[in-house]
C-alpha cells in the first residue's frame, strides 16, 4: 500500500467511527434538547427545524426553553414518587444482591466438589430464562398472602432473579484471587468466614463494585417484572413512564412523557460518565474467562 491510499483508508475509518458515534448519541441529545420545547415544536408538522429553534415555544412562553414538561411530569403527575420508589428499590436490590451473592460466589469458587458444577449450570439455565416467564408463578401466592404490589416483595423478587447473573460474575472475579491468600489467613488462625471478611473482601472491592453496577442497572431498567408486581402508587420510573404513554397521548401531554423519559435517562448518563472503566471491565470479564 502506498501512502496516499493508506491515508484515504484511515480517513474512511474516522468517518465510519464518527457516523457510529453520531448514531449512538444523537437521539439522546435530540430528545434532551426537545424536552424543553412545547409539543408543537417537538413534533412539528410544518417544519422540523422548529424543534431546534423552538419557534412555537417562543410564541407561548417568550423564551426558547420551557420547563413546563418537567413541571407537569414531576409536580402534576407526581413523577417524584416513582423516582423515590426507584431509588429505594435499586438501593436495596444492590445491597442484598451483593451480600448474598458474594457469600455464595466465594463458596462456589473455593469448592471443587461435583455439586458446585451443577449449581453453576443450574444458575446458567436460570440466567437464560426470560424473567417474565416466572411472573405467572408469583401472582397467585402474592395475592393470597396479600403481599402483592408493595416494594419489599418486588425487591426480593428482583434480587432472586438477578442472583444467577450476580453469582456468575462474582465467581469469575473470585477465581482471579489466589487460593493461597485464604489458606495463609487460615494458618494464622482465621475461620473461613473471618478469612473471607478480613482478607478476601478488601481485595475484591473492584469486582464487588463492578457487579454492584450491573445489579443496579438490572433493577433500574427492569420493566416486565416491576410493571406486573407493583401497584399503581408504588410504581418505579420505568413502569410509570409506560403508564404515562397510555394516558398522555389522549390528554395531549406528550411533553410530560418526554420530560419523564429524559429525567430517567440522566442518572444513567452520570453513571456511565463516572464508571465507564468499571462497566467495560464488567462486560469483558465473563468473556475473557469464558
Amino acid at each position: 500500500m502506498n501512502k496516499t491510499s493508506s491515508n484515504r483508508f484511515s480517513i474512511l475509518i474516522y468517518l465510519f467511527i464518527i457516523i457510529w458515534v453520531f448514531l449512538a448519541s444523537f437521539p439522546f441529545f435530540w430528545t434532551f434538547w426537545g424536552s424543553f420545547k412545547v409539543e408543537l415544536d417537538f413534533f412539528s408538522i410544518s417544519n422540523w427545524y422548529n424543534a431546534v429553534t423552538g419557534k412555537n415555544t417562543f410564541d407561548t412562553y417568550k423564551s426558547q426553553f420551557t420547563g413546563a414538561g418537567y413541571e407537569g411530569a414531576w409536580v402534576q403527575e407526581e413523577f417524584w414518587r416513582s423516582f423515590v420508589n426507584s431509588a429505594i428499590v435499586c438501593f436495596f436490590v444492590v445491597l442484598t444482591s451483593l451480600t448474598i451473592g458474594t457469600l455464595g460466589a466465594y463458596a462456589l469458587s473455593r469448592s471443587n466438589y461435583k455439586y458446585t458444577f451443577w449449581l453453576l449450570i443450574t444458575a446458567l439455565i436460570f440466567r437464560a430464562m426470560p424473567p417474565i416467564t416466572l411472573v405467572a408463578g408469583y401472582l397467585p401466592p402474592f395475592f393470597e398472602w396479600n403481599i402483592w404490589g408493595i416494594l419489599p416483595t418486588t425487591i426480593i423478587v428482583l434480587v432472586s432473579i438477578n442472583q444467577p447473573f450476580t453469582l456468575w460474575m462474582l465467581h469469575s472475579f473470585f477465581q482471579n484471587i489466589p487460593k493461597e491468600l485464604d489458606e495463609s489467613a487460615k494458618v494464622d488462625g482465621c475461620s473461613q468466614f473471618q478469612a473471607f471478611r478480613h482478607v478476601i473482601i478488601p481485595v475484591m472491592w473492584p469486582g464487588v463494585i463492578t457487579t454492584g453496577l450491573f445489579s443496579f442497572l438490572l433493577a433500574y431498567n427492569d420493566f416486565a417484572v416491576t410493571a406486573m408486581l407493583l401497584s399503581d402508587e408504588n410504581r418505579t420510573m420505568i413502569p410509570k413512564i409506560a403508564a404515562f404513554l397510555g394516558t398522555t397521548y389522549t390528554e395531549g401531554n406528550v411533553m410530560f412523557a418526554v420530560a419523564a423519559v429524559v429525567s430517567a435517562t440522566v442518572p444513567l448518563f452520570i453513571l456511565v460518565m463516572f464508571f465507564q472503566k468499571k462497566i467495560v471491565s464488567g462486560l469483558t470479564q465473563g468473556a475473557v474467562k469464558g
Partner: protein, 341 residues
Amino acid sequence: MKHKTFFWFILPTFLAMLIFIFLPIISVVLQSVHTPHENVLITVENCDPFGCKKVTSIDHEATKNLKQSEPLGKFVGLDIYFDRGHLAIENFKLIWNNSENIFSFIQSLSNLPFYKAVFFTLTFTFTVTPIMLLLGLLIALGVNSISKKLRGIVIFFSLLPMIVTPLIGSIILFWMIDSRGIIGNLIQWLFNDPNLSLKASTTLTWIMLIVYGVWHAIPFSFIVFYAGLQTVPKDQLESAKIDGANKFEEVIYIIIPHLMPLITFVTLMQLMDNFRVFEPIVGFSAEAHATSLSWIIFNDLGGETRQLSAAATSSILTIIGVIILLSPVLLRTWKDFKFKK
C-alpha cells in the same frame, strides 16, 4: 472448603433461587395444566299455582367447596397447550392440509397468535445477532486504529444505546420515527411521499424493530471485541505484514481466529437476550404488527382478566424454546465435565 462451611455460605443465595425461581417454575407448570373452575350450576323446579318452571342458578356453596378442595382449578392435561391461543393443533392440521406450498403455509400459520409471535421472535433473534456481531467487529477494528486520545470518548458514547433502559431507548427512537419527528420527516423527504408512515406497514415495523435491536446490541459486541483486540499477539501481525498480507487478510486469517472464543460468547449471550425481546414492542406500540413470546405472556398477565393459565402455558413453551436454543452449549459443558472426570 468443607461441606458444612460451603452449606452456610451458599444458603442465602440458594434459598432465594429455590423460592423465587425454582418453585415458581413448578407453579407455572402446574398452572399450565389446570383451568379455573366453572361455577357449579344447579337446576331447581319452582312450582307455583300457574305451573312449574325449571330455573338454573349458580350454586355458590358447591362452587366455593369445589374451589377450596381443588385450589389449582380443573385438571385439563395438555388441552391449553393445544388450544387456539397456543399450539393450535387443529388449525395447524387444517392449514397443513390446505396449503399448496411452504409460503402459503407459513402465511396462514402466522394468523394464529402464538405462531405469529414465534415467527417474529425467531426472525428478530436470527437477524439482529449476525448483524450486531459484524458491525460490532467493524467498529472495534475502527476504534482500535484511531488515535488513543479519542478512544475514551468514543467508548463513552458507544455505551449509551446499551446502558439506557430498553423501553426508554425504544420510546426515544419511536418519537423520532413518528411522521412528525425528525427521522420520520427525513424518510418522507427521501422517498418524496408526505404520507409515508413506518408504523402502518408490517414489514417496515419489523425492520424498525430490528434496527432498534441492532442499535441496542452493538455496544456489547463492540466492547468485548475491542478488549479482545488488545490481546492479539503483535508478532503474528508483524510476520503477516512481512509476508505481504494486506489489512483484509490480517483480519480474516489472524484477528478473527484469535477472537473466535469471544465471538461464540457474544453470540450465545445475544441469542439469549434477543429471544426475550419485549420492551421495544411496547415502546414502539408495535403490537398490531409484531408480537413476541414475552409480549404474549405479558399481555395475558395484564389487564382486568389475568389469564394465568394461558400465560403459564406460553411461559412453559418459551422456556422450552430457551432450552432448545441453549442445548448445544449445555451439551458441550456437560461433555467437558465428563471428559475432565
